[in-house]
Symmetry: C2
Subunit: 606 residues, 2 copies
Amino acid sequence: MDQTDKMQNHIIRSRLDALRILMKQKQIDFYLVPTGDDHQSEYIGDHYKAREYLSGFTGSAGTLLVSAEMAGLWTDGRYFIQAEKELEGTSIELFRMQEDGVPGLTEYLAGQVWDGATIGFDGRVVSAAFQKGLLHAMPKIIQICSDVDLADQVWTDRPDRSADQIYPLEKSLSGMDTAAKLGMLRKCIDEMTADAVLLSTLDDIMWLYNLRGNDVLYTPVALTFAYITKESAWLFAEKSAVPEETNRYLTTNKITLESYDQIYEFLMKVHQERKKKLLLDTAAVSLTLYEAAAAGHEIIDLPNYRLIPKAVKNQTELELCRNYHLADAVAVTKLICWLKTHPDISEETELSVADRLEGYRKQQKGYTEPSFETIAAFGEHAAMIHFTADTETNAVLRREGMLLLDSGGQYVGATTDITRTIVLGNLTDEQKQQYTAVACGMLKLANTEFLYGCTGRNLDILAREPLWKLGLDYRHGTGHGVGSFLSVHEGPQAFRWKMSETQPEVVLEPGMIITDEPGIYIEGSHGIRIENELLCIEKRANEWGRFLGFEVLTHVPIDLDAILPEQMSDECKKMLNVYHTEVYELLCPYLTDNEQKWLFTQTREI
Amino acid sequence: MDQTDKMQNHIIRSRLDALRILMKQKQIDFYLVPTGDDHQSEYIGDHYKAREYLSGFTGSAGTLLVSAEMAGLWTDGRYFIQAEKELEGTSIELFRMQEDGVPGLTEYLAGQVWDGATIGFDGRVVSAAFQKGLLHAMPKIIQICSDVDLADQVWTDRPDRSADQIYPLEKSLSGMDTAAKLGMLRKCIDEMTADAVLLSTLDDIMWLYNLRGNDVLYTPVALTFAYITKESAWLFAEKSAVPEETNRYLTTNKITLESYDQIYEFLMKVHQERKKKLLLDTAAVSLTLYEAAAAGHEIIDLPNYRLIPKAVKNQTELELCRNYHLADAVAVTKLICWLKTHPDISEETELSVADRLEGYRKQQKGYTEPSFETIAAFGEHAAMIHFTADTETNAVLRREGMLLLDSGGQYVGATTDITRTIVLGNLTDEQKQQYTAVACGMLKLANTEFLYGCTGRNLDILAREPLWKLGLDYRHGTGHGVGSFLSVHEGPQAFRWKMSETQPEVVLEPGMIITDEPGIYIEGSHGIRIENELLCIEKRANEWGRFLGFEVLTHVPIDLDAILPEQMSDECKKMLNVYHTEVYELLCPYLTDNEQKWLFTQTREI
């Protein structure tokens, strides 16, 4: 441990001490600091990184528990090594989630609490379901204190909540004006015989009001809440984030602007005369928001996707999507060409590849930022599904094995997500066999046709079966929805095979975009994943019903250096050849002569 | 209409008149006569055919509604033609279920009832759920009278309820003695913190007590009820049906015998001191039974398959299953050989083929009866999924098109179900294309490997996709469970793709038997179905999990005269060739020289 680490540990210990003094004042016996914001966002802003501030652990997932006697951090397998290192010497114990013999957070708490013990947390960053589960699991009668943000008092130099400029999205980008969207929503309100809707998920609000912002990393959204009745609509946002143009736009669309912090008071007071029926998604709102809403409303629980049909893209969104996917494919293909053909990559690292890719994307018109943190994972790093390099782990590339590159871009009008696994040197036969199976699975799913009514659970096996037949599997879903210049992970559609009580199983609808990304991960050795985005489309309708299929949105070559044609059926070979012909034809106009020549070989018929 | 028809119509009208007099006496405004017995059996005995007696309609499904002004019969598409003919002149109106503009029975009733109207039916032949649904759907406040069997009073020469001899099944056939099965069941009772179990589904009772009988067509079961507590067990059966040997067997196993009709009184009185917790499957018991049980118990609703694990076969059952499947395959293959090679089939009809097949089955040791009514459907008849020939529809075979033959046998220790579509003459290219797609689907499903946790909904697409890619579909599930010398349709496992709120979705377990029977049905032209039975087995276990697959139980050639090898992938061709090699090797020892020669060609490599 060097001097800097010692200093850091000292700082963490004193922050915990300060927290414990506040806990004692407030008579809180156990204080929880989860990782979240007021909107259940996948990525959170610096203002919300209280768990990181108090524990020193910088991973994107984890919960800190502090009592008078102990401090513990619960995180998952992605972060065990990082957390171990970062927590060393801080007095915080690491609890490896899902490991045998390691109690979960709730289980641990259940063993510690006594009758009358008080558990505290900031109710704005946990869900109503979290509190319910916690109370249910405790063997003693405990108190909950959810209206405190103790971290805020310890964190003297806490960054302000981001309040970047909010701007309207033109109809040429959204494809549907706000009045029409509000009309659809109000029809839902009517159908549910309800009075109002409360939204706190940022992408839903941005979609509905045709707004965008810049408050959350990787996602063009603004920190806001929305409340809509049959006659009126409100937007709760930091007023400084709303410039004159946006203000005019809101006025034109009869959306009343209120301060971000006013939402709680508003909810309690909005219908003082009689309780109105409020539609909200209990899985998506925070505990504090739920309680404020419940104080003034009769709550009807409804998943947001039933109210906000953003998963089904309109023609404008699809046209933008196709165009930007092509631009994105050009950037990724240029990067792959460079990697495959550059005489010397010995100076190149995982991080520099990510930067170089970002450079190619920046050359594309409309590009704004990555849609998530690029995964550039060389060799055995790729076996860690969520690996992202940092300055310490950053591997130098060599002409051997493979580089897994999973990345995406935000473009003004579209969001992309693509994975290619690039062969840099010799592979074993087994690696090629696995690569071929992954490619076949990806292609088989993309090329299927199915009757309307199928869900992702019906189709998942098409991608997975080639691996299952080899006795292999990947421990993640096969695909997720993608937003339109919004979140890169967007529900409700998904390709997965397991039954789930918490995840909805929804019918695939034409206009939905969904990724197709089978893979294989061999610990300590290598990882392979190939990902295209698919658009669900109508194929034909006849006496048997409506047949749907997919249009492939992603056009980047699949590395033939790892493909074993003899392992593929004629059908699969044809699928790959057809795909590569399209890739070549679409990308050529945007490539240099050398790149074109290279691509010609890379997309040759097998 | 001939003289006999006129006489029959007169009889039906006078039966309805008699029913209406009774209805008036009992102040019943609408009387319902469904098709069912006290056990929700798939096939019902003659004693229970009240609907047929009162309406003259002989189909296996339908409900009769009688009021002072009208009489109507609701049945499904399988029976429209037959019902139209049989109801002509009876004054009974035919309601074609699922047809546009035709109200369902409940919908129709909802439009007819008035405040205070009384709807009557025999509560022993409808489910508790039926009454609930009925009450829910009525727009007026109605009365229900469910303790009447008016048909019984009209039906003067009603056959007695069957009470054939009940006999115990040796352990060499059941594989598990009754004490062990009761032990398992009592463990379930404990786990559910309940006191007792009530069973009325006959195959569950037969499995649990290792008994068989002969009261229901096609199924070796006896009309019984069972009630089991942690200490005691009861069988309710017609005492005349229990011979001395069976009586001794029951005594040895500490099963108390009570009269069949005593069950209702028993349920109300068994725990007079305090209400005990009773496990029962509300979807499986009759309304009358449910009400009797509820009078003396606190009811815990649990599907029977959670208590009676008969779907997972034991080693003894599987060995018998394999042996009898081979015997059955010999019978079916001999029939196919005869049909394909006999110089003159112009005297042969759909019914005579069924008889001839029965003849071959009777030559097999252990055969007792068909496991369901044989479907022998020639040409366009095969487009009707549930077609069974009668003396009027019975088609004479010709050397053209195809014969669909779906049949099965009960053997002392196993139940079989197999479909082959046999080419009798020239086919169109389209027919061959469809036949090949059906065969490929059947083979792909049979040859898959999958992780433990998959249900039939995950796998169904493997059989269906080859047809979906041609823009075709079949409007039935791909497969159902099969009993061990019990019902040919047995839950809970199934291959199907649609989500269902009423059908359970259960994980496939090693030891489950399930049919694999894709098809295609072109109205007015032809029908194709190919069905093998599959046994779910362990394939391998490794770091990724337990991989399961299927062992094929059915070994009968698939007609190569309809197969287009050029339409099949190499993988599919290999599956078919491997299957045919097995068929040839397994069946040869049981065939004549000529049959062997024929089979050699029929199972040639493609």
